[in-house]
Symmetry: C2
């Protein structure tokens, strides 16, 4: 269980194709993981997720702790049963939401005091709290409770977060090993350090020394430029152990995925495909389109003629624009559906290219074709 096999590697870039064994099945990497914040990947049904080849989805510990709460998920027999998803699940630690969503009140080495974004009630979060809740969720992959600092952050602030993240990783691991079931759940460590190379090196060394079955890169895609992200990934590529899966947290912008894969990353997650989808914005190989655009009103071609998803095989841009303009639920569904399939397929195509030995060509053609509207600095 939790063995990671590298089945092919790109000698030029270091991109890898692998297999990660979990209790709910083997995950073929590189892989994109749709985010199911509240025990549902927004607008999608489990069978649609299977249809678009979602190998694994993500659940958010903080959100699920608030709604429906530990008691109900425990009674249901865990998150898989609760939401009727039989493939692997990864849960985050709740640490990210402390800094992004909840109203933070006080953070010490001991724990975090914050208020719920739903009803303002007080929460006390800690490594032990997170491990307990992730045990209840019963995810295949759990994450250490970490401190993700805001961007930009001073070196001093980022260093303190690195120190605390290591402290909490030790406590997460210790509690997890005695409280959770390491045969049924893998605990991944998280590397922090903002955009500072020295802190990233330190964090990677400290975290990997704790010997987790997988490692995540946290604190990227939080406002830094693409170039800064890639610079940090270049540093980490040579420090993080080759034989363990590497997970770049919160990254789902198409260019970032292929550039991440080129830097040895195996796993990605992001709300971008579904959040953009609900806003009628779609991704395709040429870039991003806002389907509310008037130019699509009389466009009877498929959304993306390269795509094999239900939305692209059955409906025209004209119809999809109509759904967007009228705010119909089917629009949110079809745009989310396509964006997830498109993003998942990027990872599938990269994997195929790695196995076939032509990943550098895939990377080149993808990045040339995709119009980057996201980051003018890059």
């Amino acid at each position: 269980m939790f063995e990671f096999r590298i089945i092919a590697e790109c000698p030029v870039t270091g991109a890898r194709a692998g297999e990660f064994v979990t209790p709910h099945g083997i995950i073929r990497t590189p892989v994109f993981m749709p985010v199911g914040t509240l025990a549902t990947v927004k607008a999608m049904s489990p069978r649609e997720l299977e249809e678009i080849n979602s190998q694994i989805i993500l659940g958010n510990t903080y959100h699920l702790y608030l709604r429906p709460g530990a008691e109900i998920i425990s009674e249901a027999g865990g998150l898989h049963n609760f939401m009727n998803w039989n493939r692997p699940i990864l849960t985050d630690s709740g640490g990210f939401q402390v800094f992004s969503l909840a109203r933070l009140q006080k953070i010490t080495d001991k724990n975090v005091l914050c208020r719920s974004h739903i009803d303002g009630s007080q929460l006390i979060m800690s490594p032990e709290w997170s491990m307990n809740m992730q045990k209840v969720l019963g995810s295949d992959i759990a994450m250490c409770f970490d401190q993700c600092c805001e961007f930009p952050a001073t070196h001093e602030k980022a260093e303190d977060a690195v120190r605390r993240t290591t402290l909490w990783a030790k406590r997460s691991r210790e509690f997890f090993m005695s409280n959770n079931n390491p045969d049924k759940q893998a605990l991944f460590g998280i590397v922090q350090g903002s955009v500072y190379e020295d802190l990233r090196r330190r964090s990677a060394e400290e975290i990997t020394s704790l010997d987790f079955p997988g490692y995540a890169i946290g604190g990227l895609s939080v406002g830094e430029s693409h170039a800064e992200m890639y610079r940090i990934l270049d540093v980490l590529k040579n420090i993080m152990p080759r034989e363990k899966p590497r997970y770049l947290m919160g990254v789902g912008y198409p260019l970032n995925i292929v550039e991440g894969i080129a830097r040895g990353v195996d796993m990605f997650d992001c709300v971008l495909p579904t959040r953009n989808g609900r806003n009628a914005t779609v991704f395709m190989s040429t870039g991003r389109l806002n389907m509310r655009g008037k130019i699509y009103a009389h466009d009877f071609s498929p959304l993306d003629d390269e795509c094999d998803c239900y939305a692209c095989r059955n409906f025209t841009r004209s119809y999809l624009r109509h759904l967007a303009m009228t705010g119909e639920i089917l629009g949110a569904r079809l745009f989310s559906w396509h964006n997830l399939r498109f993003t998942i397929r990027i990872a599938e195509q990269a994997r195929e290219a790695i196995i076939n030995g032509n990943f550098p060509e895939f990377l080149e053609s993808f990045t040339v074709k995709f119009h980057d509207d996201n980051n003018s600095e890059d």
Copy 2:
């Protein structure tokens, strides 16, 4: 084309099982028709509608005229192509929305002046306008442009609406026969008359004398009691021609469907299953449930253990309540999905009972079991 065959009839009640032949397939009656106002049955995909055995859906001429408009639907080759629905479609005339939704300005025998509920722009609607727009939509069944008066209405007001509805039925028919294609589209007449038996008789006689391939009963389920509705249906049962399909417009409350079938009605449509579904309210054989109820938080049984739909076969009430409480799109989808399947199955079960010769027993057991929360007068 448009032949209506009665294949079984209940000798006690007059309920009938039939087949109505349309260009997009044979409709087996009694039938419930989901409403696809804006070229989508809200929250559902076409393939899900097929899965729950939606034989025919309804489109709203007024809504589609406003968005996306005649030009785009014409370019798409009609409503079937536009929305990718290959089974029969019935379109209403737009007449109902004049009185329910648009801001009515002036109604004369010639036409109706009103303002769009979307942008306030002025519209001129008439029998000819409606036939033209329904030609563009290319529905299998088109409806005459009628005047549906509000409830309650004085006898005088209701009589004037009956007179105008007959006048407009003649103009609808005349224009339709020369402008539309009667081999590819059937035009149904509509009987009005509010809750006045004499007016219903008069309207039925006038409309049926025009010889349409089918007849609708309009102006019911607009605020009158169930008892009043049934009294009018009892009157019409003996006047409306046995050999033509009968369509009770806007009726979808489960008890009304079975009582309508018992009074010789063949077709029903209503937004109730989808509108209730989006509001987390579900129908089942025992009545209506609000799935936000706290009692469902720890209920791990299926939504409706008698139901064969995707929602009932895959998720618990606890999970569905969680989706309702968090406002997730999947909740709106699953509740709509179940409600539509439940309502369609009522018609299927009634048909089976009629064919098997036990419709009175079906009617009795359905009405005894279903808790009526809709109409205290009945």
